[in-house]
Subunit: 393 residues, 2 copies
C-alpha cells in the first residue's frame, strides 16, 4: 500500500477497487436519516440539518439529529482494506490499517462540531451568498472515540521544520475537470497537542466511533479527524491521508474555500487566511420562526457555543423581546465542558409590540456576538445577534 | 553588485559600507520634524503622529505632519551606491540602480497610508496591548511618484507558479540575537496590477518622491513601496530587495506581527493570516479630547477612510452627541479619490447631558464601523465608533 502515494489519487481510486462512490452501506446506517430526522438542503451530496427544537432536546446530539456536511457522495470503504498513509516532513512514513491504528491508546472526548456556514442563510438579507443554505442547525455535540493524532505523529517522527498537518479524505469531489478529495489543515502546534479524557486538552482525535457506535458513512466511516475548537471543515471525514508540511494544505477547501472574502477573484483568496477556530455563537430553538404567541409569559430555549479556545466558558446569554432595548438573562441547562455547546432556557414577557425575539451571548475569552457581522461572499461565521421573527395574537 | 544577493544581508551591510544606521541626513530633511509638528511616541526608532487638528487642515497631508512608523533607526543610504535587487521565481534576476529604475515609466498617485495600529490605544480600555501607543493620527494622505512594480516584474519575467511578492527594507531591526530587515508581502495579483495616474488602478508603486520632493529618510529614502488599499506595513520603506515566491514572506512582520490574535503563542500566529487591506475608519479631529464646550451649536471636523477596495467610496459619516441614540450626517469636504481619505465637517447641538461625541461611517462596499471591535493582543484594526469625551459648562 505504500505505493499508493506514488500513484495519482485517481489512479489509486480506479485501480485499487478500494472505493466505490454513490453507493450506500446499510449495515452501517449509511442512510442519512429519514426526512423526519433531518431537513435536507441537498441530497447529492448529502447536506442536512435537524429542526432546532429536536436539536436542543439533549446536550449530546443523537447521531440521527447530527447535521451532515458532505462535498461528494459517501465513499463506500471496506474496513479490512482501509489504510491511512502518513507522509511528508516525517522521518518514518507510515501506512496503517485500522487494526494497527487501534494499537495506539484510545481516547474519547465530547466535542461540538459546527459548520463555518451555520446560519449562512441570514447573510442573504444583505446580499445573496452561495453554498448550502444553512439555517442554525449546522451544529451538534457528540462523544467521539479514537486515537490521538499526536501519538501517531510522534511515532512517525515529525521534522523540526514542520509547520502544518494536512488531512485528505477518500471522497471524490468534482471540481471542473478534476476530481479532488476534501482536504483540511491544522497548525503543527494544534496537531501535537495531547488528547485527554478529562477534557483539559484540545488535541486532534482520529475518531472511529461517534456516540458509542462506529461512524456512519455520512459522518466519515471508518475514520475521521475531530478537531475541537475549529470549524467543522477541519474535521475531515473518510480520512485517507495525513501529510506533514511547512505550509497549510494547498487543497481547495483550505487554500480557497472556507475563507472570509468580499469577492471571489484570485486576489481575494490570496489575501485571506484559512479559518481555524469558530467564534461564539447562539440561536433560539423554540418557539418556531413566525410562531403566533399570546402576549404574556413565554419560555425560550436554544443553544450557545463559546469561542473555540481552551477554557472558553459561556459568560452570559441574553434575550430580548423589544428589539434589544432591554435584555433578560437565560439559564444554562447543559453540561459545561471545553469545546462543547451549552443549552439554555429563558422566561420572558412578550407584549403586543413584540415582533422578534433576539439572543446574544458573551464568553470569558472576550468573545461576543456582535449586532451585525460584515457580509462575506461565502457566508461564513455568521454570529450576529440571532433574531427570530414572531407574531402576537 | 549582483553578488550582493549571494552574501548574507549582514555581510552585505557590513562589507559594502552602503549603510550606516542611526545617522541623519539633513540635506534630505531627515529630521523627523520638530516636536511642534509631530508627537513622538518613541524616538529610537522614530514613531510619531501629528495632532489631529493639524492633520485635517488639508486633504493632502504635508510631509511634516505625516505619521512616521519605523522599527529601527533610519539607514543612511548613499543614492549613488543604492541598488534594488529582484530575485526569486523570475527568469531574469535584476540588480538596478536608481538611474536604471527611473528608466521605467514614471507614475504618480495620491494614496492614504494608515498604520494597522492606528487607534491602538483605545484597546487598552479592555486590556493592555503592546506596541506603539497610537492615538488616531497614524494616517496620512500624500502624493507619491515613482515606477510601477508591475513594470519591473514584467521585465524580470515572473514564473507562472509565483503567488506572492516579498519586499525587504535596508533597515536593521534587532530581534533577539538576530538583526532582520523590515519585510512586507503582497499577493502576485496585487503586484501585477498597473498603476494609473487616473487613479483607476490599485497597483503597487515603487516611490521615490512624496509630495513632490525626494522621500525623507523617515519615509524611506531613497525608495519605498506604496501599496494603495493595504495597511501601511506593506508599504516597505528603504526598499532594498524584492523576492518573487510561491508563498507570503517569512519575514517576522508578515509571518508573526501584523496579525489579529487573542494570544501570542506560536499556535496563535500559525492560525492567523497576514493583514492586507485596511477596513473603513474615521475619527474626530476637533474639538480636542476633554474640551470644555458650551451647550449649543458646535462644529466637528475629522477624517474618514473607506475600505481599501477599488472603487470604495464613503457613503455616510454620522455623528452623535447623545451616545448613539440619534445621529447627524456630516458633510464631506475633501476630494473623493480611490484609496484616499476624505475630510468631513458636521454641525451638531451639544446639551448639558453630552459627555461624548461619536463618529461612525459606512462605505459603498459594505464597510461599516462597528460599535465594538473584538480586543486583539497586538491592537490592530481598531475601527469601532470613535468616541471623544468632552465636558460641558
Amino acid at each position: 500500500m505504500n505505493s499508493i502515494s506514488h500513484l495519482s489519487r485517481r489512479e489509486m481510486l480506479l485501480t485499487s477497487g478500494l472505493i466505490v462512490t454513490g453507493l450506500s452501506q446499510p449495515s452501517l446506517g449509511q442512510n442519512p436519516g429519514s426526512e423526519k430526522d433531518l431537513v435536507f438542503r441537498t441530497t447529492d451530496p448529502n447536506n442536512a440539518e435537524p429542526a432546532l427544537q429536536r436539536l436542543v432536546e439533549s446536550w449530546i446530539t443523537p447521531t440521527k439529529y447530527f447535521y451532515v456536511r458532505s462535498h461528494a457522495p459517501n465513499p463506500l470503504i471496506n474496513a479490512s482494506d482501509f489504510r491511512l498513509s502518513i507522509e511528508g516532513m516525517i522521518r518514518r512514513p507510515l501506512t496503517l490499517s485500522l487494526a494497527q491504528l487501534k494499537r495506539f491508546a484510545e481516547h474519547s472526548i465530547t466535542a461540538t462540531l459546527t459548520c463555518a456556514g451555520n446560519r449562512r442563510n441570514e447573510f442573504n438579507r444583505e446580499g445573496n451568498v452561495g453554498g448550502v443554505q444553512w439555517e442554525a442547525g449546522a451544529i451538534g455535540n457528540a462523544k467521539w472515540a479514537g486515537i490521538a493524532l499526536a501519538d501517531v505523529l510522534k511515532h512517525a517522527e515529525v521534522l523540526e521544520s514542520a509547520k502544518h498537518v494536512w488531512f485528505e479524505g477518500l471522497d471524490q469531489i468534482e471540481k471542473g475537470d478534476a476530481i479532488i478529495p476534501f482536504g483540511g489543515s491544522v497548525p503543527i502546534e494544534k496537531a501535537m497537542l495531547p488528547v485527554s479524557n478529562t477534557q483539559t486538552h484540545p488535541g486532534v482525535l482520529l475518531a472511529y466511533t461517534m456516540n458509542g457506535k462506529p461512524l456512519t458513512a455520512d459522518h466519515g466511516y471508518p475514520l475521521r479527524t475531530v478537531v475541537p475548537g475549529y470549524i467543522g471543515a477541519r474535521s475531515v471525514k473518510w480520512l485517507g491521508k495525513i501529510v506533514v508540511s511547512d505550509r497549510p494544505s494547498p487543497n481547495h477547501y483550505v487554500a480557497t474555500a472556507y475563507k472570509i472574502v468580499k469577492k471571489t477573484q484570485a486576489i481575494d483568496w490570496s489575501e485571506a487566511g484559512p479559518i481555524y477556530r469558530y467564534p461564539i455563537n447562539a440561536a433560539i430553538a423554540s418557539p418556531n420562526p413566525n410562531a403566533v404567541v399570546a402576549p404574556g409569559a413565554l419560555t425560550l430555549t436554544g443553544y450557545v457555543l463559546p469561542s473555540g479556545i481552551l477554557g472558553s466558558r459561556v459568560k452570559r446569554v441574553l434575550v430580548s423581546t423589544d428589539s434589544g432595548k432591554s435584555w433578560t438573562s437565560a439559564e444554562l441547562t447543559g453540561q459545561d465542558n471545553d469545546y462543547c455547546w451549552q443549552l439554555w432556557k429563558a422566561n420572558v414577557q412578550v407584549t403586543g409590540d413584540t415582533t422578534e425575539l433576539i439572543v446574544r451571548a458573551t464568553d470569558n475569552r472576550g468573545g461576543f456576538m456582535p449586532a451585525r457581522v460584515p457580509w462575506n461572499a461565502k457566508g461564513y461565521l455568521q454570529n450576529s445577534w440571532y433574531r427570530l421573527p414572531i407574531k402576537t395574537r
